[in-house]
Symmetry: C3
Subunit: 340 residues, 3 copies
């Protein structure tokens, strides 16, 4: 593992932030405020936990100025947004194993590829024909890339990722293991009960700085392409149907399903397990809370939408269900009363 | 890529359909009516969009006779069901890369297999013992096939598919990347709180003309087999438990979960994210709309069932939830009024 | 396939149970009561089906004493819990193909690994550096194990499993194909709309006797580790977020999603498709029924919780939804009546 060591002064400089305390204080990792060990840096993002500043074992804490107004001692880095500063610092302590530059001798590369000299391609990868791989790309063991695909600068495919033919990935994309990009959209025409396959002629185009979670699937388009714009973040086990468009900087939590031809705006947030119907549009900056089902377009930007029911003791729930199923009868009784 | 070129006359002949206009009109692809380029064929499946016939750039359009009743010019193929005709034509423009016939030198094949001469097995595939692979099968890179499995004629396994031992696939089956067939069913007996594994002794049997989506999982049976009948279409990220039976020509959209021993009828349609309880039966031709939860058997064929709640602004939703939780109290107040 | 043959006497001895009938009766497999063939053993776990004891073709049946009180003939093994006894017997008839001991010549093993002599590592596996693999471990084809991981005694990785670096697996763990352990948690800090990645510095630690289903994903922790305790059973297509803790002997059915930092108690049962919010706690022995959404902590041990709505004919459902959306108006009318 690659242990990294920094001083408080170095971390503050990295964040272009003010600091207080011992500039030579040694920091070798990150810890949560209540669990941090003596050489870790921590952060206070929610003022509710300000009391833990007194008891934390952390070597230093990233804080807002207001949280240390009455502190006379301690090592602090002072920022406006401690959570964001923690995010920025986290890369310094990342211990993802490095990969040697070069193409592993067991990797199989097709014909007429354009592969930069400075790439890492791991064991048992299979790269198709006419694939373009740019500088700094890292493709881990067991990845399979179909013909005519393109992988932009510094993009990383974790182990066992599958790209079908003609997939285009932008720069600095991160795909987690088991992700499948470019599988056929679910296109079937009904012929007297029997399904006639609609061959999927489009592809998948993914922008820059996109992250795609483990075992997430993105289908290729039927005619036009499926499009994921820049900066989108997609968690694990998400299913994105053919011809979906996801606007830039939208975040999609785990287990979401987005049916074909849906168009999600930019800066949206979809909670875990949300379902989006096909052929609808969701405006920019819309938030859908977990396990909601969006059946119609949402045309106004920026609202928060929900439809999940919170779990409750099951007997109480089944009484409610019984009443709900008979709500029409209840309505009738109210109408009857109103007549009298 | 394999660009294909057809004339209007050829496509009409392929569809055994009448055409109007220039028989030598050249068609190199398919486009949606409003996006089609000048050498693409398009189709008009919904008469709502008939106005686009006047403005489309498409070389030709597949239409119903009634939609061009008043047209004096233009290139048309005339059919009863344009969407189905489009589906049929789509295969002509499919650019899925071909695979060379033969077994790649890095593929590992076990003992006592019966493999047809005319198959394509890609790099780094691992085929177990006593596996039978029929004529025209295509197994892409990184697939793993367990002992005693059978793969029928012209079946295609996309890259990184896993078949456990004793899996039987029919003819013309298509499995997308990351699909796992034959994993253990979720069988556990409780022994004073501790789970005792129930070894899963059945297998998975898949009929002809079945399509299975990316990262979909189908568990092997506990004692008898899990069965997917002919013509079933399963989308991505679907989970099918042990001993489930799916009737012929049923279509299952993404993210559906079907618990153990459920029996789904023929010609059913399950929307995205639907959950089916274990040990229930669903009659033929039943439609379950997206994200519904089917807890009991549906014995009458042909209905449409639902239980999803459409997302709405979250404040409005939480007011409704508060009222719903107190619906018993509301009922009580109505009863009190009725007494008076 | 490895057909196993036992006598009734042998099976009874294996279960340390009493038996009745022919001790030399030959048993070669297990069958359900109504489907069993003449050399299979069956079991009667639910007295509702006692009538099938008279008609079953099974060679012998595992029963409770009370179920054969009035039987004068037949071959029976008598136990308190026939379902559990069936579970115990099932391992004897398991036909999972054996793997030869040794490291396949195509497997790639990194530097400074500690690998026991008695392990099976299959073709095209890629094992990182400093990996520890204990006695009796079975790693099937195409598995990829990241640096600094540990795999405990008798653990089995089915084909195409991916472990990221620093993953720790206990003893007798079973991971099904397509499972991904240790992918990045979904950590993003928002910087004026743009997502800043939070590097995930923790790992995943899995206890003893855990089973993890096909295509299930478990994310590594952000700072501390994600923890799965002993005896946990997880079905297919489950998503477990970063820093989740799952208590010992909890069972999680297919398609469940558990958001980051949730803490599930011991001996819990989560039904299929359940969604658990992040940062909440669920007490021991809690049961959540299928497709429920748990938004808040459940602090009392042992209850059963629900929130799924059973599917119903869709017209009826849409009438109910219309009423539900206007429940506030109904409430207002009742209040109006009460005033009068």
């Amino acid at each position: 593992m690659n242990k990294k060591i920094y001083t408080l002064r170095e971390l503050a400089a990295f964040l272009a932030a003010e600091f207080r305390g011992d500039p030579e204080c040694v920091i070798t990792g990150i810890g949560a405020l209540i669990f941090a060990k003596s050489h870790q840096i921590s952060f206070l993002s929610d003022s509710v936990y300000v009391k833990y500043l007194d008891t934390t074992q952390a070597a230093a804490v990233i804080v807002k100025k207001e949280n240390i107004a009455n502190k006379n001692s301690g090592n602090y880095i002072i920022v406006n947004n401690p959570y964001l500063a923690y995010a920025r610092v986290s890369v310094l302590f990342d211990d993802t194993p490095p990969m040697p530059v070069g193409i592993h001798q067991t990797a199989i590369v097709g014909n007429d590829c354009k592969i930069d000299q400075e790439v890492s391609i791991g064991p048992y990868c299979v790269i198709g024909n006419r694939v373009k791989i740019e500088q700094g790309v890292r493709i881990e063991a067991g990845c399979i890339i179909g013909d005519d695909s393109e992988v932009g600068e510094k993009t990383r495919l974790c182990a066992n990722v599958t790209l079908y033919h003609k997939t285009k990935l932008g720069k600095r994309v991160l795909l987690h293991s088991g992700a499948v990009i470019g599988s056929d959209g679910f296109g079937n025409a009904n012929d007297k009960g029997v399904w006639q396959k609609i061959y999927q002629l489009g592809a998948v185009v993914i922008g820059n700085d996109v992250e795609i979670g483990a075992n997430t699937t993105i289908d290729r388009g039927a005619i036009e392409d499926t499009i994921i714009e820049d900066g989108v973040r997609i968690d694990n086990q998400v299913q994105i149907g053919h011809n979906v468009q996801i606007g830039a900087h939208t975040a999609i939590a785990g287990c979401v399903g987005i049916a074909g031809s849906a168009k999600i705006g930019r800066y949206c947030m979809l909670g875990g397990g949300v379902g989006i119907n096909g052929h609808i549009e969701i405006a920019d900056r819309v938030v859908i809370t977990g396990m909601a089902n969006v059946g119609k377009s949402i045309t106004e930007p920026g609202g928060v939408y929900a439809s999940a029911i919170p779990a409750m003791p099951h007997r109480a729930w089944w009484r409610i269900i019984a009443r709900l199923i008979n709500i029409e009868e209840l309505m009738g009784r109210v109408k009857e009363l109103e007549k009298k």
